[in-house]
């Protein structure tokens, strides 16, 4: 009988359940969600790929200045934020987007692009 008063009190209050998806919780700002990428800041060092515990990041086009972007496999990602922490240029970060369900496994892979800076022209050969 100990919980009777609590039960009757709660019977007339609004239930604790949120009727998702019509009512949603506002995610806090530190939430570890989907990645976002700024191609202009990235230098293609590849530290994010080397430090990822589940090997979810691959560099497109090879490491270094000729890197053309990142492939982040959300199916493997742990959302640990280590890639954001280790990036020296703050080019990769996690947003608060948490509704990441997809119907096709290929849609899990985030494709980020980067235009590599133009290669310096070789100086014309002196005759």
């Amino acid at each position: 009988m100990a919980m009777e008063r609590e039960l009757l009190k709660n019977a007339f209050r609004k239930p604790a359940t949120l009727i998702y998806p019509f009512e949603k919780v506002e995610p806090p700002e530190g939430l570890r969600g989907k990645h976002d990428y700024d191609g202009d800041k990235c230098i293609g060092c590849g530290l994010c790929a080397r430090v990822c515990p589940s090997f979810a990041i691959t560099l497109k086009g090879g490491p270094g200045p000729k890197c053309t972007g990142l492939l982040v496999d959300l199916g493997k990602c742990l959302f640990c934020q280590q890639c954001e922490e280790v990036c020296p240029k703050e080019a990769l970060w996690l947003t608060t987007a948490y509704e990441l369900a997809v119907l096709n496994k290929k849609d899990c892979i985030l494709d980020f692009n980067r235009t590599p800076p133009p290669q310096p022209q070789a100086p014309p050969k002196k005759a």
């Binding site: 100990a2 919980m3 806090p28 080397r50 430090v51 742990l78 640990c80 280590q82 280790v86």
Partner: protein
């Protein structure tokens, strides 16, 4: 086994168990005569996986040994690696680690209280306790970004800081948690149906508990004072004022009392940390690819379920040579087998849930032959051969 006795298998899939494990109960009518435990359904090869990843990647593997004690595993892992490598962490980092350690203890004990209520059929209390547990889950999500697997400790310190302007709000949340826990203590001690199912059920005396090497709240409910935070203090626990909770009941009611009183103590510790935290750095920079010097270290923490040991051997590279984890539930299995004997079938779920089993933490692969006093481990090829032969039989 006489004609009247038969064997009931509980597990590996059973609503009473939250994780796969198997117990074979020999019962006579409704009384349990004998128990045979079988563990190993959750073995994932974690220790082997850790040998081929660097120390920062291993941080996230240790976190996923168990979902509920993830922060305890990380605290122990980073403690062991820092001790082996001779790395000192700043004072503020120690305070933040203690804060998360205790917050996770609150979350885990409230989870246990709800699950124990569910095992005796009291679903209403289960729903209410888990609704109030959302307070601490939202707090953890706000600070660390995730509701479980917070990934806060790192080698050299912690990864996220506590913002001072949010402290008053967090104090209010901690006070609300303490008030709700006090309400549940009142319910658990006055609700006759709970007392009927908990008093005298699964009794184990103090001598038997010491003989069977129980740890954690399981042992403290039988009167054994074995809290590692008091007997072998780590981080800041020699400075923080808190009670060493142990009771003499020895039955399921003792387990309930120990855990809810520990929750209140954890709230007090969290509030103390928020009041006394110094300013400063939160981490000494540790390059993910840097090497740890040669050496070995063992680090013991008081996880939610008992004494957790992480032991690491480093041979000078940036990957560990060997890392061994001894989870508390492994030490609690002999005592739970003894508790179950002589009870009823109806008491099996609550006694099993009473030790707060976490079989995800437990399963490691080792052989121990009592007769020859030899211990060894099999490698992958031997395991595969054994599996094929077993299925042919």
């Amino acid at each position: 086994m006489s004609d009247r006795q038969f064997v009931i298998p509980i597990g590996p899939q059973h609503p009473a168990l939250k994780e796969p494990t198997s117990f074979y109960f020999t019962v006579d009518g409704e009384t349990v005569v004998d128990v045979e435990p079988r563990i190993g359904y959750n073995h994932r090869g974690i220790e082997k996986a850790m040998e081929s990843r660097n120390y920062i990647q291993n941080l996230y593997i240790t976190e996923r040994v168990c979902g509920i004690c993830s922060n305890a595993h990380q605290t122990a892992y980073t403690g062991a690696v820092e001790e082996a490598g001779g790395i000192q962490i700043p004072e503020r980092a120690k305070y933040i680690r203690v804060f998360f350690h205790e917050l996770e203890r609150i979350h885990s004990h409230l989870l246990w209280l709800g699950v124990a209520a569910h095992e005796i059929g009291f679903d209403t209390m289960f729903y209410y306790v888990w609704r109030d547990r959302e307070l601490v889950m939202d707090l953890l999500e706000e600070i660390s970004g995730n509701r479980v697997n917070y990934a806060i400790p790192t080698v050299g310190g912690v990864r996220r800081d506590l913002q001072k302007d949010k402290f008053p709000k967090w104090h209010k949340i901690l006070d609300a948690l303490a008030e709700r826990t006090n309400y549940y203590i009142k319910v658990a001690s006055t609700e006759q149906t709970i007392l009927d199912r908990a008093i005298g059920v699964g009794y184990l005396s103090k001598e038997d508990m010491i003989r069977l090497s129980g740890v954690g709240p399981n042992a403290r409910s039988s009167g054994v004072p074995c809290d590692t935070r008091k007997t072998a203090p780590y981080l800041l626990y020699d400075e923080i004022p808190f009670e060493h909770i142990h009771v003499d009941n020895g039955d399921v009611l003792g387990q309930v009392l120990v855990r809810v009183l520990e929750t209140l103590e954890s709230v007090k510790i969290c509030k103390w940390v928020l009041d006394h935290i110094p300013d400063g750095e939160i981490t000494t920079k540790f390059n993910p690819l840097s090497k740890i010097q040669e050496g070995e270290a063992a680090y013991i923490v008081e996880a939610q379920r008992g004494e957790l040991i992480h032991y690491t051997i480093s041979d000078g590279r940036n990957m560990p040579y060997r890392h061994k984890i001894r989870a508390p539930t492994l030490a609690n299995i002999p005592s739970v087998v003894e508790r179950l004997k002589g009870g009823y079938i109806a008491d099996i779920p609550i006694v099993l849930a009473g030790i707060d089993p976490c079989f995800s933490c437990t399963d490691r692969m080792a052989f121990y032959d009592e007769g020859k006093d030899k211990s060894w481990a099999w490698d992958g090829e031997q395991l595969r051969r054994h599996g094929l032969e077993w299925y042919k039989k």
